[in-house]
């Protein structure tokens, strides 16, 4: 059977049927394959695991893809230079800066040079951003599609689509934004049905400019190292004293979330409904305020002392401390 298969290292050199045969052969008798064929199997598996598009020799568009790959180094250069060449950039600058640029660099003063360089880099950035925008769909859509390219993400979208607001990528891992009232359902499903057996982290972020707070859950499962992040977006309280935002606790589903939730409560003042022992984890009991929120006032120093029975006393007066 090995004779029928081409001795080539690229996935594109195989038809779909040939690849299936190659994979079967790989499972049965690895030693009979050539080095190139093994490389093709490895490339195929890599692409499959990463959720990339796989182009076979007989699939439509294969010829173009192959041609593009062959001419890539040559074609990339002129494409990059259009719209971002030095002359084009100069044309977008204001008139006085254009005049400066036309002069001999030795004649320019230091300030002029700096101004020119700044304007140039700004224009360059704007040009590359515009180019990127013109080239394809917005990056959010690309990330959404990429996130759903993961098998577990797709499965979750099919099962819990109504509870999920959006899908995005967090570097190379997918994350979903889930509605607050469905958190516990979704997390239970992740743990019991999908086999995510570890909660890697549970933390929060404060975004004053978006007036939101986020609780971020990171799950993974040991059997295939799949990773999934889930975020809950909450309205941000107007001040440190305002009513605290609430999310359901997942402590009953992942016992490991116990202290993580307490820490988030301690630092951000997010209440986890259903937590059995929601007390400050690191700071002393009587502490005022939520220190990792952006509006925490560092100028009001707090002091900690010990009572006769060994309990912490927190006070704004320095004489009460240590």
């Amino acid at each position: 059977m090995s004779d029928e298969l081409p001795d080539a290292g690229q996935v594109e050199d195989y038809t779909q049927a040939q690849m299936a045969a190659l994979l079967k052969k790989f499972d049965e008798d690895k030693a009979a394959l050539t080095k190139n064929q093994k490389a093709a199997v490895a490339r195929y598996n890599f692409k499959k695991n990463k959720g990339m598009d796989i182009v076979f020799a007989d699939s439509p568009g294969a010829a173009e893809a192959k041609a593009a790959a062959a001419t890539k180094p040559a074609a990339a250069k002129p494409a990059a230079s259009t719209g971002t060449s030095a002359e084009d950039i100069l044309k977008t600058l204001p008139a006085e800066l254009q005049a400066l640029a036309a002069k001999d660099p030795a004649e320019l003063s230091k300030d002029e040079k700096i101004a020119l360089a700044k304007a140039k880099s700004q224009a360059m950035r704007a040009a590359s951003a515009a180019k990127k925008a013109a080239e394809g769909p917005p990056p959010e859509d690309v990330a959404h599609d990429k996130a759903l390219g993961f098998e577990h993400a797709k499965h979750l979208q099919e099962r819990f689509g109504d509870a999920l607001a959006k899908w995005q990528m967090q570097t190379d891992k997918p994350y979903a934004v889930v509605k607050v009232d469905r958190v516990r359902d979704l997390v239970r499903y992740l743990r019991i049905e999908m086999g995510f057996d570890q909660i890697r982290d549970l933390t929060a972020c404060d975004y004053p400019e978006r007036t939101t707070m986020e609780v971020v859950y990171n799950f993974s499962r040991h059997r295939d190292h799949a990773h999934l992040a889930v975020k809950v977006i909450l309205p941000r309280p107007a001040s440190q004293d305002a009513e605290l935002p609430e999310v359901p606790s997942i402590m009953g589903i992942y016992p490991g979330a116990d202290w993580l939730e307490r820490e988030v409560y301690d630092m951000y003042g997010i209440v986890f409904n259903g937590h059995t022992y929601l007390k400050r984890l690191l700071l002393p009991e009587g502490w005022t305020g939520w220190p990792l929120r952006k509006d925490y006032d560092l100028t009001k120093e707090q002091f900690v002392g010990l009572s006769e029975t060994g309990e912490d006393i927190v006070s704004f007066r320095s004489e009460d401390g240590w």
Binding site: F303, V304, L306, D312, G321
Partner: protein, 181 residues
């Protein structure tokens, strides 16, 4: 031997033919010399500096060369507190308590940038900016964290300080007062 004698007493007062059989010194000087070479530190650590402290205790750097290998687990048996690491506000009253439980005479070494001045945790909600806000520090050892050599240097400076202390030893003063009455 000559170095040892200068640490204890006045070597020039001894006639050369009798050296080294006779050492002239005062009781106070002898006490200080003894104390400086038998500092018993409190076995206690706060942060990463403690790791360097453990390395100093270990056989490679060997703090026993300076008579300080007896790390006590009770403050009542220790006369030196090395504060190795970041002091948080929650920990501060506990450290103060340990310090208060140590019997006189006692000394303190602030080990590392955090214990000396708060280190990188300026503008933090939780950090005490320097252990000297809680207890009187004799020697500050800079570094983040200081290498074991640095801590040993700090210990030697403390020994020097104890030996050259111009005041009379507290215990001796009490003894002398008691014998007079």
């Amino acid at each position: 031997m000559a170095k040892l004698i200068t640490q204890i007493g006045d070597v020039d007062a001894v006639p050369p033919e009798q050296d080294p059989n006779i050492i002239l010194t005062s009781v106070d000087k002898l006490l200080k010399w003894g104390r400086s070479n038998s500092l018993w530190p409190l076995g206690f650590g706060l942060a990463c500096c403690a790791m360097e402290m453990f390395a100093t205790i270990g056989s490679h750097y060997d703090i026993a060369r300076f008579g300080s290998e007896v790390f006590r687990s009770s403050p009542r048996q220790a006369d030196l507190i090395i504060v190795p690491g970041t002091l948080t506000k929650k920990m501060a009253p506990r450290v103060k308590k340990l310090w208060d439980q140590m019997p006189e005479p006692k000394w303190a070494i602030a080990m590392g940038a955090c214990a000396s001045c708060g280190g990188p945790y300026q503008n933090s909600y939780s950090t005490v900016l320097g252990v000297d806000k809680v207890l009187p520090v004799d020697v500050y050892v800079p570094g983040c964290p200081p290498r074991p050599e640095m801590l040993l240097e700090g210990l030697m400076r403390l020994q020097e300080k104890i030996r050259n202390d111009p005041t009379i030893s507290p215990g001796l003063e009490r003894y002398l007062k008691g014998s007079k009455s």
